[in-house]
């Protein structure tokens, strides 16, 4: 029965590692369906991570930290929006700049405020057992013995799918990423829809970053996002621009993170550096397998200017 316990631990870690990816990728799915690609997710996650940690440390409330992370990332998301949506700048360049800002600013804030503090760990977000359901063998602990943010991530994806596919708002978002001019002539605001989608995406990237500092590591470490923002971009493609697809893809990538941790812990005779690159290799392989995908929103990355 030892392998059962090993499997259970592996899957539990999979879900735990998938949660930050799910937040970020579901948010980015909305942004991209509206026609804006934000490659600055990595930077937004770092801003979220440091904001959540700082506020949680100062206030003692993890949830206040998560809220602060979402708002902080949203502010930077709106800045990105001003540059790309209103001013029509290149989205890739603006996103790259956002990554640099996020990396520099999060490290700066951390060093400025916590450089001399000792005992920097915060009270971890504890896991909540759901009665009855958590008793199910294997699956119970995997799905129903997690912290609240994990539950939130698992519920977020179907809710986001519902809004996208079954509401007038979702219809408008899907339209604006495919054919912004048609959306405008139907009487909707392209600019407004895109700002909304970008702000929502940034908010979720902030929460994804917050997860890493306050629910996973219980502290902030410089550059702790470690490429997850870029993996989330790949997940959006892998999930074919759908929220549920993003959830499944997040679990898949979460599995590679969990697996490399388990293999390290099991003392496999492979240099740990090779194990650590597993998720990133998986990302590259996934992108190669998915080349030439046509589910991509038609107007993705193209600035919209109102001109007759």
């Amino acid at each position: 029965m030892e392998w059962m316990i090993g499997l259970q631990a592996l899957l539990q870690a999979t879900v735990r590692m998938a949660a930050p990816l799910t937040f970020t990728a579901v948010g980015e799915t909305y942004g991209e369906r509206a026609g804006v690609i934000n490659i600055g997710l990595e930077g937004l996650m770092l801003i979220g991570a440091v904001a959540a940690y700082a506020v949680a440390f100062a206030s003692g409330s993890i949830w206040l930290g998560v809220l602060a992370a979402g708002l902080a990332a949203m502010v930077f998301g709106m800045l990105f929006g001003v540059v790309t949506i209103t001013l029509g700048a290149n989205q890739i360049v603006a996103g790259a700049a956002l990554n640099l800002v996020g990396l520099g600013l999060s490290s700066f804030i951390y060093r400025a405020f916590f450089g001399t503090v000792t005992g920097r760990a915060i009270q971890p977000l504890e896991s909540v057992k759901i009665p009855l359901l958590s008793q199910i063998p294997v699956l119970g602990p995997v799905l129903f013995e997690q912290n609240m943010l994990v539950y939130l991530a698992l519920l977020l994806a179907p809710a986001a799918a519902l809004v996208l596919n079954r509401t007038m708002l979702g219809l408008a978002i899907r339209s604006v990423g495919e054919h912004p001019k048609a959306t405008a002539t139907a009487g909707l605001s392209v600019i407004g829809l895109r700002y909304g989608a970008v702000a929502f995406g940034a908010l979720l990237a902030g929460v994804g970053g917050a997860y890493l500092s306050v629910a996973y590591a219980n502290q902030f470490v410089e550059n702790m996002v470690a490429g997850r923002g870029f993996i989330a971009l790949a997940i959006v493609v892998f999930g074919r621009w759908s929220p549920m697809g993003a959830l499944w893809a997040s679990l898949l990538f979460g599995f590679t993170f969990a697996l490399q941790l388990r293999l390290q812990a099991a003392n496999v005779q492979i240099a740990y550096q090779f194990l650590q690159i597993l998720p990133y290799v998986a990302t590259i392989v996934a992108m190669i397998l998915l080349r030439g995908q046509s589910a991509q929103p038609k107007a993705l990355g193209a600035p919209y200017t109102e001109r007759a």
Binding site: A172, E178, K181, A182, T185, G187, L188
Partner: protein, 525 residues
């Protein structure tokens, strides 16, 4: 009181873009139940005027009155609320969505908690039924569940009309609605529009085609250079008068040409197949021949393989299989440059994207295909004086109206831009010329010029493949005509025996040849 006021009155509308006066003091009245044509050449200001009415452009001066009430329209949203609908020339439909989704887009609150029932579409079938009701009430024949991408152009246009009707319009604007339709689809559309008008809907139809004005409208307003140059009741005018008003001088509506004297085949295409990214056959086993000294016209509705045919011959697109032979050399596997050097030249369908580098001066555009050779380049260095001298001779020969060969070609009018392309492609006396949509977007005068240049090239012994979606143009110029439908040639007729009706049916994919043969056999019995 407001009963007598016209449905729409535009009073003194003016609009300028930079130094260009697009609309100059334009006034216009449309009554309830009237079909009103807005006639004018490209650049006459028709689209600007309608964009003002639809809230896409703000006028500098002038007033808009609906049923006698002065209104200000700042956005399409407002225009829709006021009962104005617009069918754009380039359809404003989202191809990945269904017909029903396209129709209901933006017709209800996006996400309102108080009106949640309207914001949420639990039951797709209920929405499809609602849209289906509108479709049926107006007899338009569209499946609300179909994905727009899978519809024909004619069907997509009906979706646009349904979109307007669903929003309850009482003034419908159609911008060049027949540009993408077969003659039969046009007839159907006109029938539909007439029944709408009979039920009280006012319709404005933007067009530059005279026979359409005569066929459908009650009244017509003619625009030229941003001004109203004539208002007529359609019954009291004729095509000749309208053409004169539109162009500003007397015009000949027909092309004069002599009989062709075809020689040996100069371009031979054998079972050419092009398969697209989505595994669709864009060209399907297509074979044709063009002889020296003849114009072969390729008729067809836009998007049936015309683009691919032109690009495959000129080497821009690599065909999947088949052979293309010009002057007894196969062109397969050669670069566009090698093909041009082999005497196969190209007037591309989009001169601004493929034909010219707009930011470059006129002179440089003339040598785009020869700039690296003597006398334009000597020992690796460009020779500006030689290039300018050459440009000067072509500017004179092809009557390009430009103050200087150093002017960026972007500053020229469409007609003069096309003359630059013509000059570059025809100066080398090519044995084969692929002319794709050679007069698209040109005014009557420039069109006449291009037609004469093509006929002169033919009479000098050139083989010309004329690919055009303007059926009148194909009929006027071609010595033989083939009809392209879904990448295949579905019929061939000789130029002097062609009639629009018959070709129109073939453009819609109806196999005439077989029917005609059966009919012929019947007669013999």
């Amino acid at each position: 009181m407001s009963e007598q006021a016209p449905r729409l009155r535009l009073a003194g509308i003016s609009k300028h873009f930079g130094p260009v006066q697009a609309n100059n003091d334009i006034s216009l009245e449309v009554a309830a139940g009237e079909i009103h044509c807005l006639l004018g050449e490209n650049g006459a200001g028709k689209s600007t005027l309608m964009n003002i009415l639809y809230g896409l452009v703000r006028p500098d001066a002038g007033g808009i009155f609906l049923d006698g009430r002065s209104v200000a329209i700042h956005s399409p949203h407002q225009a829709i609320e006021l009962g104005i609908g617009m069918v754009h020339q380039h359809f404003m439909l989202v191809p990945t969505l269904t017909v029903a989704e396209n129709v209901i887009l933006a017709t209800r609150p996006l996400l309102s908690l108080r009106r949640l029932r309207e914001s949420v579409m639990w039951d797709r079938r209920a929405i499809e039924r609602q849209v289906g009701d509108v479709v049926q009430r107006y007899g338009l024949k569209i499946d609300p569940r179909a994905r727009v991408a899978s519809l024909s152009v004619g069907e997509q246009q009906r979706v646009e009309i349904v979109k307007a009707l669903y929003r309850g319009v009482n003034l419908l604007i159609l911008d060049e609605p027949t540009a993408v339709l077969t003659p039969q689809e046009t007839t159907d559309l006109f029938k539909t529009l007439r029944s709408f008008a009979a039920s009280g809907l006012s319709i404005i139809l933007i067009t530059h085609k005279l026979h359409e004005v005569m066929a459908i409208s009650d009244r017509v307003t003619v625009l030229r250079d941003g001004r109203v140059v004539g208002r007529r009741a359609t019954r009291e005018t004729d095509m000749h008068e309208l053409a004169g008003l539109m162009v500003g001088r007397d015009v000949h509506l027909t092309v004069e040409k002599t009989r062709a004297r075809p020689g040996a085949p100069a371009l031979v295409i054998d079972r050419l197949t092009v398969v697209g990214d989505d595994d669709r056959r864009l060209l399907d086993n297509l074979s044709l021949q063009v002889a020296a000294g003849e114009i072969l016209g390729v008729a067809g509705v836009d998007g049936n393989g015309q683009r691919e045919l032109a690009l495959a011959i000129t080497g821009v697109l690599r065909p999947t299989s088949g052979d293309i032979v010009a002057n007894e050399q196969s062109l397969i596997g050669r670069t566009p440059r090698q093909i041009a050097d082999a005497g196969v030249r190209h007037i591309p369908e989009d001169r601004q994207q493929m034909g010219l580098i707009l930011e470059f001066p006129v002179a440089d555009n003339f040598v785009l295909k020869t700039f690296d050779r003597a006398p334009y380049t000597v020992r690796g260095l460009l020779q500006p004086s030689a290039i300018t001298a050459y440009a000067q001779t072509l500017i004179e020969r092809f009557d390009v109206r430009t103050p200087s060969p150093a002017l960026p070609v972007a500053n020229l009018s469409g007609g003069n831009q096309q003359k630059v392309v013509l000059g570059r492609e025809l100066d080398s006396q090519p044995r084969v010329l692929v002319a794709a949509q050679p007069t698209r977007g040109l005014d009557v005068g420039a069109t006449e010029y291009v037609h004469k240049a093509l006929l002169a090239q033919r009479d000098a012994g050139g083989a010309i493949l004329l690919i055009s979606t303007e059926l009148e143009e194909v009929l006027a110029l071609s010595d033989r005509i083939v009809v392209l439908y879904e990448g295949r040639i579905v019929g061939e007729v000789s130029g002097d025996r062609a009639n629009a009706q018959q070709i129109g049916l073939m453009m819609a994919g109806v196999q005439i040849a077989a029917q005609a043969a059966e009919h012929g056999a019947g007669v013999h019995q």
